[in-house]
């Protein structure tokens, strides 16, 4: 049902389903709470900030940019959901970390059942799996350094700093 509620917010349900959801909203308080949580999250993301939350969207986007890659694979089910509503799942840990213990914590509690496991771990205040140093990530970092050191000494027909495009280019973003 939560999934349908989420889909309705995204305008992805037909009229009959929407009607059924509204009827349930009218009679089911817990369901209404979920609806409110989704709406609040949507408001935050769109920048319709609660008092004192000006610039929230910008901060979230900045955090998204810097969010470490989650190394622990999520289950298939969670992946499918993430594809369906990618913004919500990606923002979940950020909302928690940016907002701290504000009202969004309530949103987290409501949504945590749908969130992929590593994301929930982050939302609960721990480090994301991607932030935990691993031998692999350390070594990737070392290779990065190697590339820069190599390009400082190797030359080639390409003008100086353009060489470093290889170092800072897409693969390092992945």
């Amino acid at each position: 049902m939560k999934e349908k509620l989420s889909a309705m917010l995204d305008g992805e349900v037909d009229d009959a389903t929407a009607r059924a959801l509204f009827i349930r909203l009218k009679h089911d308080k817990a369901f209404r709470d979920e609806w409110d949580a989704y709406c609040m999250l949507g408001d935050l993301i769109r920048g319709d900030a609660l008092p004192g939350l000006e610039g929230f969207s910008e901060r979230v986007m900045a955090r998204l940019e810097n969010e470490p890659t989650i190394l622990v694979p999520s289950g298939r089910k969670e992946r499918e959901k993430a594809v369906h509503h990618p913004w919500r799942h990606r923002l979940l840990p950020l909302v928690a970390s940016v907002m701290g213990g504000l009202a969004v914590w309530g949103v987290m509690a409501v949504l945590s059942n749908d969130a992929p496991a590593p994301v929930v771990a982050s939302a609960q205040g721990g480090k994301t799996p991607g932030a935990v140093p691993s031998a692999q990530s350390i070594r990737d970092g070392a290779r990065h350094d190697y590339l820069v050191a190599h390009q400082a000494l190797s030359g080639g027909p390409i003008p100086s700093v353009v060489h470093y495009v290889r170092t800072v280019s897409v693969p390092s973003e992945e």
């Binding site: 050191a149 400082a152 700093v161």
Partner: protein, 343 residues
């Protein structure tokens, strides 16, 4: 496109032919960097024969260092394309540059003289080092072009148009499978490199740089060179600078020489970092990094390093040996396996 029309047998014949040609080359003794410019804003003096491809290579190198230019270029590797903005100024004998990747997170590279700073916001990392200490093209080329022409067949291939400028096309075809081919387009009046392609043995483009717009000459203000990406105090800073190890006899050697490549420099990175050896064939280069292997970590073997860069990693004698460079995978593997410790 290029190498596919030249089977390996033909390449070997070219190698012999190239050596013969070299004997009569009037450019063999030409000092590198002899094409000086009059002042910062003017293009390099055209005191060379426009029909000579080696003269063009010299000119490209001088132009990229000694011209002012501002432009936007794309970097393409595989199916990926990224756009970057670059500003370059040459004043008082010193280069200043700023480059920013415009797609994705705003990665920025700042160069002031030999000091280079590379900011990677997504990794919360700043890499500092020395740029172009010995690496600027053609400064690192051999004093003669013997090595270069021994490894590549170099020819001019007409004039094209890149980013609105007329450009001389140069083709450098490898004489064996240990290096990539290159196609360069240099702005006709100044020699500034406007487009560069690296090609594999099948003639496929491995990576490409190309200006989409560029202003050559004129003033390049401080605002175009100033850092813009904010760096936070808790970001990791990595210093990839090092000290020359030329005077220290290395305990490492190669079992067999790398055809066409010779040792250019050796460096010991700071804070107990890796030993780096750079080998070059006059155009392409590989670096061999050697450092104590971490316990419990296995070598990864061969893997791509992004764009034209290939990497090969192995562990030997308790050390991790990593070889990388803008060369085919075959060469980095051969180099890594050739490294041995002197007993």
């Amino acid at each position: 496109m290029m190498a596919d029309t030249r089977p390996m047998g033909a390449m070997r014949k070219w190698f012999v032919a190239g050596l013969c040609v070299l004997c009569g080359s009037s450019f063999a003794d030409q000092p590198v960097g002899s094409l000086a410019v009059k002042d910062e804003a003017s293009p390099p003096v055209s005191g060379f024969s426009e029909a000579d491809p080696l003269g063009w290579l010299d000119r490209i190198g001088v132009a990229s260092r000694q011209l002012n230019y501002v432009g936007t270029f794309s970097y393409q590797t595989g199916r990926r394309i990224e756009t970057s903005r670059i500003a370059h100024r040459y004043a008082g004998g010193e280069e200043s540059e700023r480059m920013e990747v415009l797609d994705g997170s705003p990665r920025e590279i700042i160069r002031q003289g030999e000091q280079m700073r590379c900011v990677l916001p997504a990794q919360r990392t700043v890499i500092i080092g020395q740029a172009g200490k010995r690496g600027s093209f053609p400064g690192r080329l051999p004093r003669s072009h013997t090595e270069l022409t021994g490894n590549y067949h170099i020819r001019l291939d007409g004039v094209g148009r890149i980013a609105g400028h007329e450009a001389q096309k140069l083709v450098l075809e490898p004489r064996d499978e240990l290096r990539f081919g290159h196609v360069l387009w240099a702005e006709l009046q100044t020699g500034l490199l406007l487009k560069s392609q690296m090609l594999d043995a099948r003639g496929e483009v491995v990576e490409q740089f190309a200006f989409s717009d560029v202003r050559i000459g004129g003033e390049v203000g401080d605002e175009l060179l100033a850092p813009r990406v904010k760096v936070y105090a808790d970001w990791r800073t990595v210093d990839v600078g090092g000290d020359d190890e030329a005077q220290i006899k290395s305990q490492w050697a190669l079992r067999e020489p790398l055809p066409g490549f010779s040792l250019m420099t050796m460096m010991r990175h700071r804070n107990g970092g890796a030993l780096q050896m750079v080998f070059s064939d006059g155009l392409a280069a590989i670096s061999i990094f050697i450092e104590p292997a971490e316990a419990g970590v296995e070598a990864r073997g061969a893997y791509p390093g992004g764009g034209a860069v290939n990497v090969f990693e192995r562990v030997a004698d308790g050390h991790r040996i990593t070889v990388l460079g803008e060369v085919p995978a075959l060469l980095v593997q051969r180099a890594a396996k050739a490294v041995k410790v002197l007993k």
